[in-house]
């Protein structure tokens, strides 16, 4: 089945699933999704390259969405509540939101290690749309 990324270039699956952002060559500021320039106003160089984020980060917050979001979200019928998590990638200094997978919200604890995975968001006539999700993992987050 044809697979389309929800956002081209925002993640890779090989050799392991990670998010891809941009990093400033001068001040090291990381942005996600990747930007064409550096968002730090005190940085004069503005020369950015693509950069992979750490595979794992720390759980910074979460919420379960009990009413279906509007399109382009594709909601199953009947709707199953989804949990959105915020993961902090410590060495990159960035927090990213994404859907939770592999656990229920009841099992979540602040600061627990979360790893990036790439999974199907939804399928339609043109194939599968894939994107990043976050899954609890054993051990510590990458520092």
């Amino acid at each position: 089945m044809k697979q389309t990324p929800v956002l081209e270039g925002a993640f890779v699956s090989d050799p392991e699933p990670v998010l891809v952002g941009s990093r400033c060559r001068s001040c090291e500021t990381v942005a996600f999704p990747a930007s064409f320039t550096c968002p730090n106003p005190r940085c004069a160089r503005k020369d950015v390259v693509a950069t992979s984020l750490s595979r794992t980060g720390r759980l910074a917050s979460w919420t379960t969405v009990h009413f279906p979001p509007p399109p382009p979200f594709v909601a199953p019928d009947p709707f199953v509540p989804i949990t959105v998590v915020e993961v902090e990638f410590v060495s990159e200094g960035i927090q990213v939101v994404g859907p939770l997978v592999g656990a229920s919200a009841e099992g979540l604890r602040m600061g627990m290690a979360m790893e990036t995975v790439v999974e199907v968001y939804y399928s339609d006539d043109s194939g599968e749309v894939i994107g990043w999700k976050f899954r609890p993992t054993e051990g510590d987050a990458d520092e």
Binding site: S61, T63, P70, G93, Q95
Partner: protein, 398 residues
């Protein structure tokens, strides 16, 4: 630099009005404000109006649409959209036109009809090289209240705030709203009722998130000279009107973004734009939070009310719940918060909600707020909360 005086105000009841267009609602409040100022429609020197995205192309030029309905007079009209901060941004634009000496009277209009439920994304060009982040965040599944819920959970973890605190904000604001004949919801809810309302984005429940409403509000701002000529009494003065945007390094993940960069080197606070706008307004007015008799803040959700008490300098971090528990933020308390009933009782009408706050403060400072009157009110501050980090605060005094 001329002082800026609120000469007239107009407010439409808020709710859902399928039989009445936003143009009629906007025209109603425009004429009410002009009449309240003791002026004629043809006396208005300039207009600023909320650029209402849900109204399509005529909505984006709402000021021209309303002027065409009421009779075009050739005055300058600016249409502005700064999301939920539009009302404050319109105030700021009008304020600058008067302090600069460019005009002696400016009509500020916000009129809006909102889609039900979560605010959806606005259609975008299909042939952009990349989809806009606003489309991606919906595919991920992050409605606006989810952003607020993420912050609230951090607050609960950091300060021990409870679901009951969230519900108590609604109980208080619904009691205020029950005293306001313009509010959409005029029912005082009990703690039990709020806590049994459906969970939307936990820990935020349905009754703790403002609805999306149809609403309209207008004010006429005039120069000191014009106010004297009109005999405005009492002259409610706009002592400050600020506008700020976000700072790099702010840890807030902003609607509709997917991430926030906030490394150790960056020192911007949560809701940096809101903190800045409040600080700028206090500085401009030469007053501080301790001088305010009451506040109209953006209670888009119960989380907002707790957070903005801190962001606007009324208490230290993690202390808002104490003010709430002690009853200090209720009518009759030391610092009534949202005596109008707030967005909690009115619902959001994004172009108009910042102007709604100015109307309420004007009535309070005139002493005409009826059963919800804050006794002896002389000074107040308003602040809105705009998506993607734009924000405005106004200090009004009499």
């Amino acid at each position: 630099m001329s002082d800026v005086i609120v000469a007239g105000v107009g407010l439409h009841p808020w709710g859902k009005f399928p039989e009445k267009s936003w143009v009629e609602m906007g025209a109603d409040v425009a004429l009410d404000a002009v009449s309240d100022a003791g002026m004629e429609w043809t006396d208005v020197e300039a207009m600023v109006s909320g650029a209402m995205q849900w109204g399509g192309s005529t909505g984006m030029r709402s000021g021209n649409t309303i002027a065409a309905a009421l009779g075009e007079t050739g005055v300058p009209i600016a249409n502005i959209n700064n999301a939920c901060a539009s009302g404050g941004s319109l105030m700021r634009a009008a304020y600058a036109m008067i302090t600069s000496g460019m005009h002696d009277s400016v009509l500020v209009i916000g009129t809006d009809k909102s889609p039900k439920g979560y605010f959806p994304s606005v259609p975008v060009l299909a042939d952009e090289p990349r989809p806009p982040v606003d489309m991606v965040r919906w595919q991920v599944g992050v409605p606006n209240p989810a952003y607020w819920a993420l912050e609230m959970r951090k607050r609960m973890e950091a300060y021990g705030s409870t679901e009951e605190h969230l519900a108590q904000v609604k109980v208080k604001n619904s009691r205020h709203g029950s005293l306001n004949p313009y509010a959409r919801y005029q029912k005082a809810f009990t703690l039990e009722q709020v806590l049994s309302s459906p969970m939307v984005c936990d820990p935020l429940r349905l009754l703790e998130i403002c609805a999306t409403s149809d609403g309209a509000a207008a004010v006429v701002l005039v120069s000191e000279k014009k106010a004297r000529r009109l005999g405005v009494n009492p002259p409610v003065k706009v002592a400050a009107c600020s506008l700020a945007s976000g700072e790099f390094g702010d840890p807030t993940i902003r609607i509709p973004l997917l991430a926030a960069t906030s490394d150790g080197a960056a020192t911007a606070p949560l809701l940096s734009e809101s903190r800045l706008a409040a600080q700028m307004a206090y500085e401009q007015a030469g007053l501080g939070p301790e001088d305010m008799d009451f506040v109209e803040l953006p209670d888009n959700s119960s989380w907002h009310e707790l957070q903005y008490l801190e962001t606007m300098g009324f208490c230290g971090e993690g202390e808002a719940e104490k003010l709430l528990d002690a009853g200090e933020t209720a009518l009759g308390g030391r610092l009534p918060v949202c005596p109008s009933g707030g967005f909690s009782s009115f619902g959001e009408a994004t172009m108009a909600q910042g102007i709604l706050q100015i109307v309420e403060v004007t009535w309070q400072l005139r002493g005409t707020a009826g059963t919800r009157q804050v006794e002896g009110a002389r000074k107040a501050i308003t602040e809105v909360y705009g998506a993607q980090a734009n924000n405005s605060a106004c200090v009004l005094t009499t």
